[in-house]
Symmetry: C2
Subunit: 239 residues, 2 copies
């Protein structure tokens, strides 16, 4: 083997090793949150189709349960058991029933998969970034990591950037066309902001982002667990 | 009870009965084909996400199997069994594996549900409109019924309309902006048209639509089974 070939082989080996090592917990967390959102979307579409189909046989039941999970459960119960008398619904024969059951089952399967991923995500976040996980909550925390493309970069972002992660569209609309600037990104769904008075929401978002930014640094540089204190502080101030 | 109240009650009862009777096999077929398409779409999205996630552990396998179903099977085999050595993939721990397996399983669950619906649809079409089912095939036949909003209306449409069912967008673009008119709608996926020579495709579509239109009338007015002869004729002419 010539030395050039040798060199090339070594370079290839090195590159493959780098690729192998580049897979971090960040990537696992980002994939998990993406998939949870995707499963959620698919479930919603399938359940809305199930509602349409099932309501041919029992339009009253469809109206009664607006919660998707409850509706699927009730529909399956009825399809598998005795039909409750209904004035407007058509009679399904056995084949019809089996088809609708197949659709309903696929919706419940998706919900089961989503729940498994949620358990996985919360465990992974707990061990990878316990401060963020505690203060932001699993879902919001994972979304922040996704938007920042990893914990390392999240730790390096300023608090004002963390505050707006997930609101990029509104932010650029603001910069481009001078609409009002967004107050918050993904953290909009956070309890502290939801419970804050309307006039305090911006202030609460700023304070929360501040603490989240500190949490990210604590987590990345293996600091102590401080999130419970921060959470307490914020709750006292705004709720 | 006054006679007005009596009248109102009777009218309500009558309306509910009408609603009950309005549920026809058409509606079941339309729901089934819609749901099959929806399950297909969801499966594709989930599998593409699975590919992304799984390829962190074994990028080589992901490239090797482009067929979704085969890929999911192979991925599940690997996740549940021994890991084949891979130069670039990262090591998944047990939790990681369980999460990816949950996602992969949800994809297979959707495929199972889809197959059940396909069996149901083909059985329903066979008993409801055997001529259409034979000549158009189950999927295309069901789509034609959906676009026509029922077998009755499909039987009343002219052959040239049947030819373009499913190409409404292209047709109106043609009428509005003078682009080239579409040659076919849903029947584009039909064997006869796919196998026809490039220059014959328009002619084949017209001939096929002609026969399909006759089939729809045969089915709606409970005529004989003629589709096999038509199919033979068309095949001789264009394939």
């Amino acid at each position: 083997m010539t030395s050039i070939e040798q060199l090339r082989e070594n370079a290839l080996k090195e590159a493959k090793k780098k690729i192998k090592e580049s897979v971090s917990k960040d990537l696992m967390i980002i994939n998990a949150i993406n998939n949870i959102e995707e499963l959620d979307k698919s479930t919603n579409i399938i359940v809305s189709r199930l509602r349409e189909w099932f309501s041919l046989s029992n339009p009253e039941l469809e109206k009664k349960y607006s919660d998707n999970e409850v509706f699927v459960k009730k529909a399956l119960e009825e399809l598998n058991g005795k039909k409750t008398p209904t004035e407007m619904g058509a009679e399904f024969d056995n084949d019809d029933k089996k088809a609708v059951v197949a659709l309903a089952k696929s919706a419940t399967d998706l919900v089961v998969a989503k729940k498994e991923l949620e358990v996985y995500l919360s465990k992974a976040m707990e061990s990878y970034c316990k401060n963020i996980n505690f203060l932001a909550g699993t879902t919001i925390g994972a979304r922040l990591i996704r938007e920042a493309k990893g914990l390392k970069r999240l730790a390096s972002l300023g608090a004002s950037t963390v505050q707006l992660l997930g609101a990029e569209k509104a932010l650029f609309r603001h910069i481009k066309s001078g609409t009002r600037p967004p107050k918050y990104g993904h953290i909009v769904n956070h309890q502290i902001i939801m419970n804050a008075k309307h006039t305090d929401k911006g202030k609460a978002a700023r304070a929360l982002a501040d603490k989240l930014s500190i949490c990210a640094r604590l987590d990345y540089f293996k600091g102590d667990f401080m999130a419970d204190k921060y959470s307490e502080e914020l709750r006292k101030k705004f709720n």
